[in-house]
């Protein structure tokens, strides 16, 4: 049975929740899985701490909270400091090397990637940073087929922005490949 628990964390405005929704939607709509996606954030629309929990499973999902994520994504230092300890031993931790300095040794496969810098250099728009993160996640975990996620992105993003999102997603996939 496939039952994967993920936590995406960062700050308001980084697109953490949007990325989580796209990932879960891809699993449901294009891979026939069950998914539950929840979220919490502070009162501030920008800058506050943000977290989204996702469960992907072959079976119906009861409890929607994530206790020990198999996959943890941290996009700010604050999120990393707060959540790095909750990762399931042997899980995968993905951080952005511009925003997070990994300090503690956690029992996880740590993937530090220059996602933000690559997006800014190649595309110049921070708005697709979250999509690059999704690409890196799929590239390093092979959780879902890249084309499933790309289809879900297509469902969410206006047509005129699709090409830019595709580039960001591919950048993430490539970064993850180089990081192996």
């Amino acid at each position: 049975m496939k039952h994967i628990r993920l936590v995406f964390s960062g700050s308001g405005g980084q697109g953490v929740i949007t990325a989580a929704i796209i990932l879960a939607e891809a699993a449901v709509m294009y891979e026939g899985m069950e998914a539950a996606q929840s979220q919490s954030y502070g009162a501030a629309a920008r800058g506050g701490a943000t977290r989204s929990d996702i469960i992907l499973s072959d079976e119906p999902i009861n409890y929607p909270g994530v206790v020990q994520p198999n996959i943890l994504v941290c996009l700010t230092q604050e999120a990393y400091n707060l959540y790095s300890a909750i990762i399931r031993p042997g899980g995968t931790l993905i951080t952005d090397s511009r925003f997070v300095e990994t300090t503690k040794k956690v029992d996880a496969r740590q993937t530090e990637l220059p996602m933000y810098e690559t997006v800014m250099k190649e595309i110049g728009k921070p708005i697709v940073f979250n999509i690059c993160v999704l690409g890196a996640l799929i590239g390093s975990t092979e959780l879902l087929r890249p084309q499933s996620v790309m289809k879900a992105i297509g469902d969410k993003v206006p047509k005129s922005f699709l090409e830019m999102n595709k580039r960001a997603f591919d950048l993430g996939l490539t970064l993850a490949g180089e990081g192996e």
Partner: protein
């Protein structure tokens, strides 16, 4: 309709529209705002009205007016908004105005935490109106329930001419899940009974053998009177204590004596169990996992998930708890619905676990509580 991936709030909005709701008014508040946003998308193409009031009091007031005019109406808020709704809820009770009120509960008291869940308003929904007459409170467990119970809520509001609450929770309203709407077991739609053309209309006259007065819309061709004060069958204010007493008794009985026909629940009974775990709302999801784990470990346990909280389905609850020696009530507050169970239990030992810190109660915690 194929598979959807939507949150509880969107499910409520979609179900409301399918139930015939054509008027929504609200004032934005996390975690209920996305119901308003969905209604804003869904209602205008159907020539329905979606309106932001200047505050919560006005918003529910608009809904009362729309309902008096004959529309199926809904509003949605969270705890702080329910506080402001209070007097209008009493008006809906007294004037027998059908209305669906969604409370996407967030951690209180007061503004508390906007994106943290709780079930802290349960007794507040029941008792947060002047006079203390019964209301209907339905508690969804997941996105699927949000859809089904919203359709029932409209039916009950129409059938009994009363306010009906959906006691949702941030952890349901803002959690997305896969749902196949076509496969859901949804009820046939009911509409309030109108007074026939050829019969004289007294706004609060109840036909013999029934408990609900027929309806006519205000603003139509026939005269309608509406009031929140104690009134006689004609809708005139009265001080006649006999008439007042009869009306109050009817407002109580029309719901309490019929609750068996709208008791929604999931009862997973094990004949060998000595313990019954009783839960509602999002906590039921952790309870299902906990019960599954305990049964795998060889422990006999029964699980009752209540979805009709008020009026309290007393006979049904008694029947369930009579099967066991011990009842454990777990809820996301410091002990609210357990009070109803304590008064219904006879020989059964009732224990309670509640927590209100913005975190879901986990399956592990429920197992620990039951092992005590």
């Amino acid at each position: 309709m194929a598979l959807s991936f939507i949150d509880g709030n969107e499910a409520i909005a979609r179900a409301a529209v399918r139930a015939g709701c054509r008027f929504f008014s609200g004032y934005p508040i996390t975690p209920a705002t996305t119901i308003y946003q969905q209604m804003l998308k869904l209602l205008p193409p159907l020539k329905g009205v979606c309106l932001q009031g200047e505050d919560e009091i006005a918003s529910i007031g608009f809904c009362l007016g729309a309902s008096m005019a004959g529309l199926k109406a809904m509003t949605a808020t969270s705890g702080p908004g329910i506080s402001l709704y209070s007097e209008q809820i009493s008006f809906a009770l007294s004037g027998e105005i059908p209305l669906v009120i969604v409370d996407v509960q967030r951690l209180g008291p007061s503004t508390g935490s906007a994106t943290k869940g709780a079930d802290g308003d349960i007794q507040f929904l029941r008792w947060g109106s002047s006079g203390g007459l019964p209301v209907v409170v339905l508690a969804p467990v997941d996105v699927r329930d949000c859809y089904i119970l919203t359709m029932h809520a409209f039916n009950l509001a129409e059938q009994y001419r009363c306010p009906v609450f959906i006691a949702s929770n941030k952890e349901i309203g803002m959690t997305r899940e896969s749902i196949e709407i076509d496969s859901l077991d949804t009820p046939d739609l009911l509409t309030r009974k109108y007074c026939p053309e050829d019969q004289p209309y007294l706004p609060f006259q109840v036909p013999p053998g029934t408990m609900i007065p027929p309806f006519l819309p205000i603003g139509g061709s026939r005269l309608v009177r509406q009031t929140s004060s104690t009134h006689d069958p004609e809708g005139y204010i009265t001080a006649d204590t006999d008439i007042i007493g009869q009306v109050i008794e009817r407002l109580d009985k029309k719901l309490v004596t019929n609750v068996d026909t709208f008791t929604f629940f999931e009862f997973d009974s094990d004949p060998d169990a000595e313990t019954l775990l009783l839960v509602y709302g999002v906590t039921a999801r952790a309870a299902k996992t906990a019960v599954e784990q305990m049964r795998k470990g060889g422990k006999a346990i029964s699980l009752l998930i209540l979805k009709t909280l008020y009026p309290v389905p007393e006979d049904f609850i008694k029947q369930c708890i009579n099967e066991v020696k011990r009842v454990v009530v777990v809820e996301m507050n410091l002990g609210q619905y357990v009070r109803e169970i304590e008064r219904l239990a006879e020989s059964q030992h009732v224990s309670h676990f509640g927590k209100m810190d913005g975190e879901l109660i986990s399956p592990e915690l429920i197992q620990q509580v039951i092992a005590l």
